[in-house]
């Protein structure tokens, strides 16, 4: 494993600002493919850091015991936004900048803009495939899933299926994606899978276990690892959902949301999954019901809600074709 300081800036206080990359080169000759993993673009998302830790640990062990297995090259940038990760904030703290809204051609020259630009350019140069790992925000909890913008689904879906996440969600394009790492790399024909899992500022070890197994399977499928480690269990194929196959429910009232459901459970249409309460007056404002039959893959974690706040998403069961 080669440790490289990818980017560095001297700081006025003393300790420099460094972004570190770990590289596992091919054992011999030209790599069959180069895969990069990046996490921590948002400083309140730690699931990806844990996943990177698991990958580095496992790949290092493989390299030490069976170096010939490495046919391709793996790059891992576990902590892409160290100032924000150290503060536990989504945004780059000194500037309030979102690194994942500055990718692609972005004007300006602030330190976060420079860092985003350099990470983007580096990934562009050293990757044939990228996995960008995110947790959800502080408000929602997500089953492990890969999100794919519709226009890239033909190329990305076969790759996503190898990862054995619970859900692969193919969704429409929206303006908010235009400045993200995933969208801009995919536009440059560098296939990029975007993972969403868990919730902000927390780690769900079970979710990361599944993702870890999925990422090792992906490396094997791409020929980067010549053999699959024996301790990687088999897993069911992800449920693939298209735009009309995701139903969501939002709060109709402002208040305190108390869930009565569990993430990952199967729900029936109109089944009660929680309540919105008025804790000041002690009344139930609303019974929250599932918007359809299927798998509950997004659930509100932060209880304070305004009317309109997203509470749950369900991956709808497909109706049998008649």
């Amino acid at each position: 494993m080669n440790t490289q300081t990818l980017l560095s800036r001297a700081s006025p206080l003393g300790a420099p600002l460094n972004i570190v990359k770990q590289t596992f080169p091919a054992h011999q000759g030209k790599p069959v493919q180069r895969v990069s993993f990046v996490s921590g673009l948002h400083g309140d998302e730690f699931e990806g850091l844990y996943l990177c830790h698991r990958l580095i640990q496992a790949l290092r062990q493989i390299q030490e015991t069976q170096p010939e297995v490495f046919k391709g090259e793996v790059h891992i940038i576990p902590a892409a936004n160290p100032p924000a990760l150290n503060q536990g904030t989504r945004l780059w703290p000194f500037y309030g900048s979102d690194m994942n809204r500055m990718m692609g051609p972005h004007p300006g020259a602030s330190i976060p803009v420079q860092m985003s630009r350099e990470i983007f350019n580096h990934l562009k140069e050293c990757s044939d495939l990228v996995v960008d790992i995110h947790a959800s925000n502080l408000h929602l909890k997500e089953l492990p899933q890969i999100r794919i913008i519709e226009e890239f689904s033909e190329e990305l879906l076969p790759l996503a299926l190898q990862t054995h996440t619970d859900i692969v969600w193919i969704h429409p394009m929206a303006g908010v994606f235009e400045s993200t790492l995933g969208y801009n790399l995919n536009k440059l024909n560098i296939p990029t899978l975007v993972i969403e899992t868990g919730t902000g500022l927390r780690i769900e070890p079970g979710f990361v276990d599944r993702l870890f197994h999925g990422m090792i399977r992906l490396l094997h499928h791409q020929g980067i690892l010549a053999s699959l480690p024996s301790d990687i269990p088999s897993a069911p194929t992800p449920q693939v959902v298209y735009p009309r196959e995701v139903a969501q429910t939002s709060a109709k009232h402002s208040g305190l949301f108390v869930s009565q459901a569990s993430l990952g459970q199967r729900v029936g249409e109109d089944e009660i999954i929680g309540q919105v309460l008025d804790p000041v007056r002690g009344v139930v404002l609303e019974e929250v019901t599932a918007p359809g039959n299927g798998l509950l893959f997004t659930l509100r974690e932060q209880p304070a809600v305004h009317s309109g706040t997203l509470l749950a998403r369900v991956a709808l069961d497909r109706k049998p074709k008649s």
Partner: protein, 322 residues
């Protein structure tokens, strides 16, 4: 006249109410003025308030000679929750309002607020956004223009600020209010002066005078004796921008050059060591140009942006008789 445009119950307290002020007859030219997109941009808030008082006085006959001819709307506060904290963004969702347009009719609070502003301004001919420099920077008073064709530059000239500057296209621009206005047919103008957290009375006077002149020039306001004045403006396209970066990390001491033209090699400031005070570096202008932005916060990293020059070779003058 103060009108409620959004009323949303909050989970545990009084409702969140957004207002606009509106004057004048319908059917003629129409102008929307928005301030308070971020919760720390004081100049815009103060200008909006002063302008509202002026227009109320015109309406009630206290400002003799003036008459309101078109429809004028002012939206003093957009990111209400951020204003409650004095931060640029609402910490609850870490969302920059000016990266959330056009929002959605029913959705998260910030999205709903953005959508409300879009709906209430969509029919206007012109839109003015009151801004300051970014966090840690001070802007010399200037106008930012999107898609600055000749017609727009002529409109901008009547705003009375000495400098016009093209906003570079970028993927995230599409989420800004100005770009959304541009896409639905308004002429958007961003007036930037000063810095966050600080009220600058002279800049406030300048902006107020410029907006009143704009209204008179473009048929929104008339005066029975005095004519509006056409003013000169130097315009710089997006290629004119010359960022100035430090070489060393330390404390930046700026020279009083903001809003002036500096020669190539002129001193813009110096970087001193935080712990020992020694001068590490003198920062010089790499080219002749107008200093439109200068660093305010002294702590700087290596390669930190401390100023933006507008290169004179890309300048075009717009004279009153042009």
């Amino acid at each position: 006249m103060k009108e409620e445009i959004l009323n949303i119950p909050t989970p545990f307290g009084e409702p969140l109410i957004l207002y606009k002020n509106r004057w004048g007859p319908e059917g003629g030219e129409s102008l929307s003025i928005v301030s308070g997109l971020q919760g720390d941009r004081l100049n815009g808030l103060m200008v909006a308030s002063r302008l509202s008082r002026f227009l109320n006085d015109v309406e009630s006959g206290k400002e003799t000679g003036y008459q309101i001819r078109g429809t004028i709307q002012i939206f003093p506060v957009v990111n209400y929750k951020a204003w409650e904290t004095g931060n640029p963004i609402w910490n609850f969702d870490s969302q920059d309002v000016d990266l959330t347009f056009p929002g959605t009719g029913v959705g998260e609070l910030t999205e709903t607020i953005c959508n409300t502003v879009i709906r209430h301004t969509a029919e206007s001919d012109y839109g003015i956004i009151l801004q300051t420099g970014e966090r840690h920077y001070e802007d010399a008073p200037h106008i930012k223009l999107i898609e600055p064709n000749r017609k727009r530059r002529n409109f901008a000239r009547s705003l009375g600020l000495p400098i016009g500057r093209e906003v570079a296209e970028s993927p995230s621009l599409v989420l800004s209010l100005a770009k959304q206005w541009d896409q639905i047919g308004l002429h958007p103008f961003i007036l930037s002066a000063g810095k966050p957290q600080i009220y600058h009375p002279q800049y406030s006077d300048l902006l107020l005078d410029g907006i009143i002149n704009f209204m008179r020039t473009n048929g929104l306001l008339s005066h029975n004796r005095e004519n509006s004045s056409q003013r000169e403006m130097a315009f710089f396209d997006a290629h004119s921008e010359c960022p100035v970066l430090t070489r060393q990390a330390g404390l930046f001491y700026p020279e009083p050059v903001n809003g002036t033209v500096v020669e190539k090699g002129s001193k813009l400031g110096e970087v001193r060591d935080l712990y020992e005070g020694a001068v590490l570096e003198e920062v010089h202008a790499p080219e002749k140009g107008y200093v439109v932005t200068l660093r305010e916060h002294p702590m700087v990293h290596e390669k930190e942006l401390v100023g933006i020059l507008l290169r004179e070779k890309n300048q075009r003058w717009f004279w009153p008789f042009g």
